[in-house]
Amino acid sequence: MIRITLLLVYALSGRFIANAQDKYFTKTGKISFYSVAPLEDIEAHHRSVTAILNNKLGTLQFMLLINGFEFEKALMQEDFNEYYLESDKFPKAEFKGQITNNSAITYYKDGEYAAMVKGMLTIHGETKETEATGKIIIKEGKILLNASLNILLSDYKVTIVKLVKDKISNKVKIAVDASLDPLKN
């Protein structure tokens, strides 16, 4: 009877530990975007990005409030929110995807792994399938995510005013940098 109880306790505790380590998250992830064009280079940074990773299933989710992007120039920030991304109308951006080579990543062992992610990116109320490459670094119980991808503003119905259409790039590079901690239930 004692042996059965011990086995049960062991099995349950093992399951709880496994569950506790399945999910990792952050609310202070960074996402930056860069656009290089003849008229002006545009750069903005967001440092309140929520990310959640289920390493068992390989699912990955990012969420951010558009209004949280910070620019160096105030006018650029105002135009970005008011005319381009219309943050009052479309306050959030989101990515829901899957690490396609999840089985190649050893989450319990410190190391650096190449990662490929595929999923749906929603910006400005438009959702498109997107792929990104990056790396996952496992270090002292934390998971660091670094990735970059290029998107076209026209894919997300972000309209650049005619006057500057040839001078502002339609292509934007997005860089992701997030340090995820285990999610304790």
Partner: protein, 155 residues
């Protein structure tokens, strides 16, 4: 002075003034909120309660506003790049007010600790509702600064 010359002079003066204004506006930096008076003062608990009520009215009420939030510090987050986030809230709720701090005033944060009451002011960024049921919802403020108690202000 002939009338024509006055008109030309006036035209060029206006042109130069406009160019200066455009250039100044184009290069205008995002200002620090340190010495700006808040539009609204509210407690963290009240703010969380308003957003948890679940309609879009609070977002409209606080949109574009500089808010001073009075609350107890649940957490002081420092990320790998040295940026601070102060988390204010109550122990009764998973939701919180997350204040991404202005890095220029990082020295004001070093003395703050979990459990301490403080006032933080920042621009209302939005409400991030937790759709996973795991993380708690957040009211996010940006470019935040700690509102110093006038008694503790250094001259």
């Amino acid at each position: 002075m002939p009338r024509k010359r006055i008109v030309v002079l006036l035209f060029f003066t206006l042109l130069i003034l406009s160019a200066v204004w455009v250039l100044k506006e184009y290069n205008r930096k995002v200002e620090s909120l340190k010495n700006t008076k808040p539009d609204i003062e509210v407690t963290a608990e009240q703010l969380i309660k308003e957003f948890e009520a679940g309609d879009s009215l609070p977002s409209k009420k606080y949109s574009g506003k500089l808010i001073a939030v009075v609350g107890v510090i649940n957490q002081v987050d420092k990320d790998d790049h040295g940026f601070f986030t102060l988390v204010l809230g109550s122990s009764n709720s998973m939701s919180s007010v997350r204040c991404a701090m202005d890095s220029v005033f990082a020295s004001d944060i070093h003395s703050l600790q979990k459990g301490q009451a403080t006032t933080v002011k920042g621009m209302f960024t939005g409400y991030q509702k937790d759709e996973t049921g795991l993380l708690g919802s957040d009211i996010i403020l940006n470019r935040c600064v700690v509102e110093m108690d006038p008694k503790n202000k250094q001259e």
